[in-house]
Structure formats: C-alpha cells, structure tokens
C-alpha cells in the first residue's frame, strides 16, 4: 500500500511539473502603421513585453505608448499627447489566446498558422478582436507574428487629421521572438 501511494504521489507531482512552458520576451516588436497616401505615419516599439503558454495558447502583448518611436519627433509628440494621450493611458495591451495552438508542434521546426482571439486595449478602450498570424519554431524557440486591424475611432482616438493625413484604420503588426 505504501509503495502504491508513493507511486501515485510522484505520478501526480511529475504531471504538475511538465504540464506547460511559459515563453516570454521583453524585446518584442510592434509596428504601428497609420500611413495615408499623403503622409507616412509609422511608429515602432522595440520594447514589447510578451508572454505565451504553449499548452493553452494563452498570450499577452503589452507595450508602453511612449516607447513607440517615430522618424519625425513632432509626430511622436502628437501621437503621445493628442491621439493616444499616453500620460493618461500609458499602455496598450492584448490579452487573448492562440485558438489553434493544438496544431503547433513546438518540438518540430517550421511555420504554423496562428489565429489570435482576445481583448485589445488601446487608449483605455477594450475591444474583442481576432487576427491571423503565424508561429515560427526555430531551434525550439517560437516567434509569433500577427497583424491586427485597428479602427482608430473605435478606440476613442480622434483628431481632424484622421481620415486625411492619418488613415482611419491602423495596421498593428506584432513580432515577438521568445527565449
């Protein structure tokens, strides 16, 4: 009886230890592109904080608005002060799941399609979103790519230039290479 319980105990313990792995990075990239034919409006953030769990597909991207860098500093100032109001709402976040994570074989190098579904919070407004992307496994380390369409007005981001020099819909592309 003693042996049996001991065996059961270790079986349970080992099950607990090998259940899943959390992948994370603090140097992920997000590109914000709201360019119009009139003006190039591109900001890049190279300090994106992201985590992902391989078993459940739960994934989080978190970015400081102030870490978006623009080629034109005045544009960066306007992005922060007039549009995203970063002093009031410093972060943008995506919290969701890669719904088809079961099809990804983390042990085998290759490219796998990934479908994102979750909540995107920008400018303190949360919206349910879904997006298509890709998981690339190279030497056991996954890289996640995804592209989200963001309707600026839907997040309470307003301004007279939106729809003119600034596109109505921004493309937010994510690229996170996990360690």
């Amino acid at each position: 009886m003693k042996k049996a319980t001991l065996l059961l105990f270790f079986a349970g313990l080992s099950f607990g230890l090998h259940a899943q792995k959390i992948f994370s990075t603090k140097t992920g990239q997000i590109k914000f592109n709201a360019s119009s034919p009139l003006e190039q409006v591109v900001g890049i953030n190279n300090q994106v904080d992201s985590k992902m769990i391989d078993k459940t597909g739960q994934v989080v991207f978190s970015a400081l608005i102030k870490s978006f860098k623009f080629e034109n500093q005045l544009m960066e100032d306007h992005f922060n002060e007039n549009y995203l109001e970063s002093s009031k709402f410093p972060k943008a976040e995506f919290k969701g799941f890669i719904t088809n994570i079961g099809t990804v074989n983390f042990a085998k190098d290759g490219k796998y399609p990934a479908n994102f579904s979750g909540t995107l919070t920008i400018h303190n407004v949360s919206q349910k979103v879904s997006a298509a992307g890709e998981i690339t496994i190279a030497n056991g380390a996954p890289t996640v790519n995804g592209a989200f369409k963001v309707k600026l007005a839907g997040y309470g981001i307003t301004g007279s230039y939106i729809g003119g020099k600034i596109a109505n819909e921004a493309e937010v592309t994510v690229n996170c290479k996990y360690q």
Partner: protein
C-alpha cells in the same frame, strides 16, 4: 472479522484521501495553468513603480515667443525656423498698422543628442548673427525617479555686424559681441498648464556709458496654457533687474498652433530683436501706447538622422 473489516474500510478511506490529495491538491498548487492575464496585471503594477516616465511636451516648441523654452529638438532633427515681426501697431493706418514693415530672424537648429541642441541664426535687427547651445541638465519625471522640474542651460553668443557709428573712441572688433547665459527651470503641472522661470545674464563687451554694468541680470517667466488639442495660449515676460538704460521689459502673448509637421506661433510682442541679448535688454516698444508688433514663428522639422531603434528594426 468485524474489526478486520473496519480496519480495511479505514485503510480504504485513507487511500482514497491520499489519492485525492495527490491528484487534486497538486493540480491547484503546482499543475494549475498559470494565468498570464493576472501575471501581466501584476507586472504592470510593478513596472509602474520601477519605470521612470519622463515628462514630455512641457512646451510645444523650442521657443516660447522670443526666448528659449525647456524643449530641445530631438537627436538628428534639423529645425528650420523663420521668426517674423511686423512693424509697430501704433504707427497707424499709413503703415497699415505695422504690416508694411518687417524684421526677421532666419535660424537653423539641430539636435546633436537628446540633451544637446545647437543653433545658428541671422537677424535683421542690427544685422546680427547668433549661435547658441542648449543642454538639458535635469528632466521632469514620475515613477521610480520622481523629479518635479526640468532644468536646462542655454548660452548664446551674438555678433552685431551693423556698421559702427562714428565715435570719439576706437571700437574694437570684440566690441561687436554680446553673450547671454540662461538657466531654464520648467514644470508641466498637468496636460494643460506649464510654467518656466528663466534667470538670465546678458554680457555686453561694450556698453553705452560708464554707469552701465557690462553684466545685466534679468528674470524671465513664461507659460503655456492648452486651449484645445492643437491650440495653446502662451505668454512670456522678462523683467530686467539691471538695465542698459532707456529700454523696457519684453512682454509677449500669443498662440501656438500645431499643424502636422509645423508649429505655427502667432503673437503680439513689444520687442524688435529676436536673439536673447536684443530682446531681453533692447526692447523699445510700450504695450501701454500700442508699441507692439504682430509676429509669427514658423518651425519646420526635418529628420536628418533616423533614430537608432528605427534603423535596426527587422521590418
């Protein structure tokens, strides 16, 4: 027999208890799927305390109206500035209330680093050339480092190239120079209101009379009040503690209007000169009798050097 049976059921009970402990308890303690959403929320709270958030856009431009603000042009950014003042309003309808005349300064500013800005300019007034540098010493911030104010140092040199009037004494080449040193102390109180204090010393290599000191001290004060997303009310006043003699204090009020790649400044000022020595210590107009000028500054920025973290991106 009965007692034995009792023993078995007791053993069975403990066995079931153990199994349930082993299989259910660890599922909560070790094997439970960690919730990234919660982890992220906790990390956000920690980050907010550990990160230093530098306060940006204390003022909208590197100049308030005539004088410097706490702001610098960013690293690798070239800023072409055209500062234009019309004539005095009180010259009447004959001069179309000053619009017939003009005095201006053409300038180029460049951000060498995020903290150091240099610039050159040429003014109509006294045919002056000027050069300056401005260095950020402290930056207002919140978070881990809580700094209530920003401090910058600005130094300007002015060379007057206007031909000398005939004097009874010889004039040296060095007499055409004047210099100013300024400490700029600024605070953004909220998204709507910023204030700066600018203790200033202006040094003239030559002054009109022996009674006037070569070093002149003054104190500047300026503010920005946001009216809408793109329009700000600005004001600037320099009080002269010691004077050249015969001049008034510079006082200006105006609007900063932002349009895409420009900051457009429209204002009224009683000063004619646009560099530090001339507007702080050689202002002639009097607000009281309409001795003011309508003026505007246009700033257009160009990115000369791409920011590093943009260049290394993989996109």
């Amino acid at each position: 027999m009965e007692t034995y049976q009792h023993k078995t059921s007791a053993k069975l009970f403990w066995c079931i208890a153990l199994i349930s402990i082993v299989y259910l308890f660890p599922h909560n303690a070790f094997a439970q799927t960690p919730d990234l959403f919660k982890m992220q929320d906790e990390q956000d709270k920690k980050d907010a305390k550990e990160k230093t958030d530098i306060t940006t856009s204390i003022f909208k431009s590197t100049r308030l109206i005539n004088g410097q603000t706490i702001e610098n042009t960013g690293r690798g950014i070239l800023d072409l500035r055209i500062s234009h003042r019309f004539g005095f309003v009180n010259t009447g309808s004959y001069n179309f209330f000053g619009l017939d005349q003009a005095t201006m300064r053409l300038g180029l500013d460049y951000g060498i680093t995020d903290r150091l800005e240099v610039g050159i300019g040429r003014s109509t007034f006294n045919k002056e050339f000027d050069g300056f540098f401005k260095y950020r010493i402290l930056r207002q911030s919140t978070g881990k480092v809580n700094m209530p104010i920003s401090i910058s140092l600005a130094a300007t040199g002015v060379w007057r190239s206007l031909k000398d009037t005939v004097t009874t004494f010889p004039i040296n080449y060095s007499d055409h120079f004047s210099f100013s040193g300024q400490l700029i102390l600024a605070r953004k109180f909220n998204d709507y209101f910023s204030l700066q204090l600018v203790p200033t010393m202006v040094h003239y290599n030559i002054v009109p009379t022996k009674a006037v000191k070569n070093d002149l001290y003054s104190m500047g004060i300026g503010f920005r009040q946001r009216l809408s997303k793109r329009v700000n009310l600005t004001g600037e006043y320099y009080y002269q503690v010691t004077q050249l003699g015969g001049y008034t204090n510079s006082a200006s009020v105006g609007f900063d209007i932002e349009t895409g790649g420009h900051v457009f400044q429209l204002f009224f000022t009683n000063s004619t000169g646009i560099n530090e020595s001339s507007f702080i210590t050689q202002t002639q107009g009097l607000w009281g009798n309409g001795g003011i000028r309508f003026g505007f500054n246009i700033s257009r920025v160009f990115s000369v050097v791409k920011p590093k973290n943009l260049a290394k991106t993989t996109y």
